[in-house]
């Protein structure tokens, strides 16, 4: 018995030593193990570039694809996949691609990949959600014939005679030209948007027809490639693409975990099961700064929140009335108390995310002054009751009610917030010209140009000009800006156009969006950009 004891001890000691050694070895190995950072997103609608206009899909595609241009800190375009983008007249643009880029299946990226992808995107019957970005290119109308008797009529739109944009022409394997309908100095920036990514030959089932399962595992030209397939409602995993010629990412892979609810994302971040949450929900903002410490961060994004005055409502037709309402709103109080600093007061008609933004271009009309507001409102004979209509599924009730309370106190009027179930219901009411009062709206930019705010929101034919504002002078200045020979001159015209908005007050600017995000202790250098995307090239393991 006695003799056995030391032997046991020796065995035990060896075992412990082996264990320790094993642990040490494991520690060394972990340096070689791929480092995968996880980012929380919602389920993307699509992963075809030209059909991706929502942020979840765009976030994933940004890992898989490299754009022609990206943007620097001052929102000016910098070349990425393009070697040069040149133009003499802002109408014909020659794009030369960098040599050496390949798709993840090994195919070389050529001019054809862009031309084919863009033709497919612009072809009306394909129903791609981002097709309208190609509107400026010559030949777009031939691909999108008008329905002869309008949308509701019995006749259907004729099938287009061609499926190729006449404005796209190949020069050689790495060069192609884009001819626009009208000169547009900002075209270089437009091409940075998601819908302008190229598609490999492997994407096509036949000419102009995408493979049905392409979006289950998209093949791109970006720094990361798909690892496995898109697991719907669960996850999308990407890994470093070794043959990527551009700047290499510092992480080996990204796991996009799909959540239905942002609060669940935050719960996983708090328990250490998720590395990056790009948008912390308001409910968690009270505790997040203490929970996360210096891992709780903020950065500006391009969101612009405002309310518009439908022009068919006579009670708001006087500019003094609109101005008085705007002056009676204490923006700071709302961003501080309701949004807990996750949004900032807006006092301009465009977001600071674009070059040419000026602080407080709205001037006095966006400065809180209840006394003056009340005097102005009474003098102009504003309506006794103000109504603000919003979509109830977007979490807008709290601030609309708060705004209403401010208007009640400061203008001495009655004010009600009316929630429509969905945004589409609000639009239906607008179409029928019902008395909806003020309408809540928001805008996220697609490419960083002032024009991307001014055009869709305030021009007569603007796609999101739901309130019907129309001023020929404004339209003209916008057009002059778009046709200006240089971006600097364009900005000058656009700023003049913005000054007209400050005079006319078609909308009340309310708030600017901010990315309020957080990350785990596993990662560092987490930056969320103006498009609310994580900067994947900067993201680093913490140790």
């Amino acid at each position: 018995m006695r003799g056995h004891f030391p032997l046991k001890m020796a065995v035990g000691a060896t075992a412990i030593m082996l264990l320790v050694a094993g642990c040490g070895g494991g520690g060394d190995d972990s340096g070689d193990e791929p480092f995968v950072a996880s980012i929380g997103i919602g389920e993307p609608q699509h992963l075809i570039p030209s059909n991706t206009t929502e942020s979840n899909g765009a976030e994933v595609l940004a890992a898989l694809f490299t754009p022609l241009v990206d943007f620097d800190a001052n929102n000016n375009p910098v070349l990425v996949a393009a070697e040069s983008i040149e133009t003499q007249d802002n109408k014909v643009w020659t794009i030369k691609l960098k040599d050496g880029f390949t798709f993840h299946n090994g195919e070389k990226v050529t001019a054809d990949n862009y031309i084919n992808a863009w033709n497919h995107a612009a072809y009306g019957p394909n129903g791609m959600g981002g097709s309208y970005f190609f509107e400026r290119i010559e030949g777009y109308d031939a691909l999108n014939p008008q329905d002869p008797d309008g949308e509701d009529g019995p006749q259907k739109a004729p099938t287009p005679a061609t499926n190729k944009l006449s404005g796209l022409a190949k020069v050689d394997d790495l060069t192609f030209t884009v001819t626009l309908k009208e000169p547009f100095s900002g075209w270089r920036s437009v091409m940075g948007y998601t819908v302008f990514y190229p598609l490999p030959n492997a994407a096509w089932a036949s000419e102009g027809v995408l493979k049905e399962d392409f979006e289950e595992a998209p093949i791109g030209n970006g720094p990361f490639k798909m690892k496995g397939k898109w697991e719907h409602d669960s996850k999308i995993e990407v890994e470093k693409y070794d043959a990527y010629p551009g700047e290499k990412p510092k992480v080996d892979g990204i796991l996009y975990k799909i959540y239905q609810d942002q609060k669940a994302q935050y719960a996983d971040l708090s328990s250490g099961a998720l590395d990056v949450v790009t948008s912390i929900p308001i409910e968690n903002l009270a505790s997040a700064p203490t929970d996360l410490g210096d891992r709780f961060k903020k950065s500006p994004n391009s969101v612009f929140q405002f309310v518009g005055f439908p022009t068919f409502l006579p009670q708001y037709s006087k500019v003094e009335v609109r101005k008085a309402i705007s002056m009676a709103i204490n923006r700071k109080e709302i961003t501080d108390t309701i949004f807990r600093g996750s949004q900032a007061p807006a006092t301009s008609f465009v977001s600071p995310a674009v070059a040419g933004y000026r602080e407080n271009s709205c001037g006095e009309a966006c400065t809180f002054d209840p006394v003056k507001a009340k005097a102005l409102y009474e003098q102009a004979g504003g309506p006794k009751q103000i109504k603000i209509t919003y979509n109830a599924d977007g979490g807008h009730k709290a601030w609309v009610d708060a705004t209403c309370n401010q208007l009640k106190t400061n203008l001495g009027v009655d004010c009600v917030g009316v929630g429509e179930p969905k945004f589409a219901d609000l639009l239906t009411k607008l179409e029928k010209k019902e008395d909806v009062g003020l309408i809540r709206l928001g805008w996220i930019m697609d490419y960083p140009l002032m024009e991307n705010y001014l055009g869709p929101l305030y021009s007569t034919n603007g796609s999101s000009n739901y309130y019907g504002y129309s001023n020929p002078e404004f339209d003209n200045l916008l057009k002059l800006g778009s046709a200006a020979p240089t971006p600097e001159e364009a900005i000058k015209y656009w700023q003049q156009a913005e000054d007209i908005l400050a005079r006319d007050m078609p909308v009340i600017p309310l708030r600017l969006g901010q990315n309020v995000y957080g990350h785990s202790e596993r990662v560092k250098n987490v930056e969320v950009d103006r498009f609310s995307k994580v900067d994947l090239l900067k993201l680093e393991p913490a140790s």
Partner: protein, 308 residues
């Protein structure tokens, strides 16, 4: 018995068609503009609207759309969602995880509520009965929208006993917390029904007879009382199983489980008729089958009940 079974199945078929028709009609009536709902606040260009309207037959009249849908359904084709995903695929992902969740919740609920119900039924007015009464009162008063995040915060984030969320393909361990939360929906009522039923049966004549015969207490309660007391409880459990599947919207949202509740919520939010009707038709079948099983179980529990 067999004739009864056939009759019930035929009734079930009728119920199935009636229910899907009504749900489809309701979704159709509720539809304002599903394409805009999908695009959110973005403008929807006319050409895109045209192409998608044709693809999903959105401009057809109700009967034609319903016809398209039923033709597909009867050949086993559930159609595609508005994001162009096969609904059959979505279902094959969602149903297994929700069934796992609901069954686990059911097991937790039955174990707790039948045990607690019997004990408090036997010792009415005792300390255990009183404590249970208070706890069930609290459970009844707490809505699941409060309970689920609270449980997540406490057991998932602060104590770290369980993972904070379960995900798309959860194991048993990951499902325990959400299942327990879901079970709390039905535990309170089940305890009370069991308790009342046991208490009533304890006073029944046949129990007195059994005691008079000199049977052991264990046998009196285990065989005579329990078997007779379970009839109302089994009915309740059967109904609850369906409720648990349909009512998992909040739990699945909080614990990030992409199951049936989540898909129903998504379908309703995006006005996606085929998606909602697909899931509801399976839910209808679940309800029909479960209720049939419950009715057949009566006969097993109570020999006096005969079906002809």
């Amino acid at each position: 018995m067999f004739r009864y079974f056939v009759r019930r199945v035929l009734q079930g078929v009728l119920t199935f068609f009636g229910a899907t028709f009504i749900v489809y009609a309701l979704m159709f009536a509720n539809q304002t503009d599903p394409l805009q709902a999908l695009a959110g606040e973005r403008p929807l260009p006319d050409n895109v609207r045209q192409a998608l309207t044709e693809r999903y037959h959105l401009d057809d009249p109700f009967i034609v759309q319903y016809g398209h849908y039923m033709r597909g359904l009867l050949t086993g084709d559930f159609g595609v969602s508005l994001t162009n995903r096969k609904i059959s695929e979505m279902m094959s992902q969602a149903w297994p995880v929700t069934i796992r969740l609901a069954v686990l919740a059911m097991i937790i609920a039955v174990m707790i509520s039948v045990t607690a119900g019997i004990i408090s039924g036997i010792r009415r007015g005792g300390p255990f009965d009183t404590v249970t009464l208070v706890i069930t009162l609290i459970l009844l008063a707490l809505p699941i929208v409060v309970l689920a995040p609270l449980a997540q915060l406490l057991f998932g984030i602060q104590l770290k006993w369980f993972p904070a969320t379960a995900g798309a393909d959860p194991g048993l361990f990951q499902l325990i917390l959400p299942a327990a939360v879901l079970a709390s929906l039905v535990i309170a009522t089940e305890i009370r029904v069991t308790r009342a039923s046991v208490a009533e049966n304890l006073r029944a004549d046949y129990v007195r007879t059994a005691r008079a015969k000199g049977l052991s207490k264990r046998r009196v309660i285990g065989i005579h009382v329990l078997r007779n007391s379970l009839i109302p409880v089994v009915t309740l459990i059967g109904l609850d199983l369906g409720n648990l599947m349909a009512g998992a919207i909040v739990t699945e949202g909080v614990f990030n489980i992409p199951g049936v509740g989540f898909n129903l919520f998504r379908g309703i939010r995006t006005e996606d008729g085929p998606l909602v009707v697909g899931f509801v038709s399976i839910l209808v079948i679940v309800f029909i089958v479960v209720n049939l099983v419950v009715d057949l179980l009566y006969a097993v529990l109570d020999p006096r009940i005969r079906y002809e």
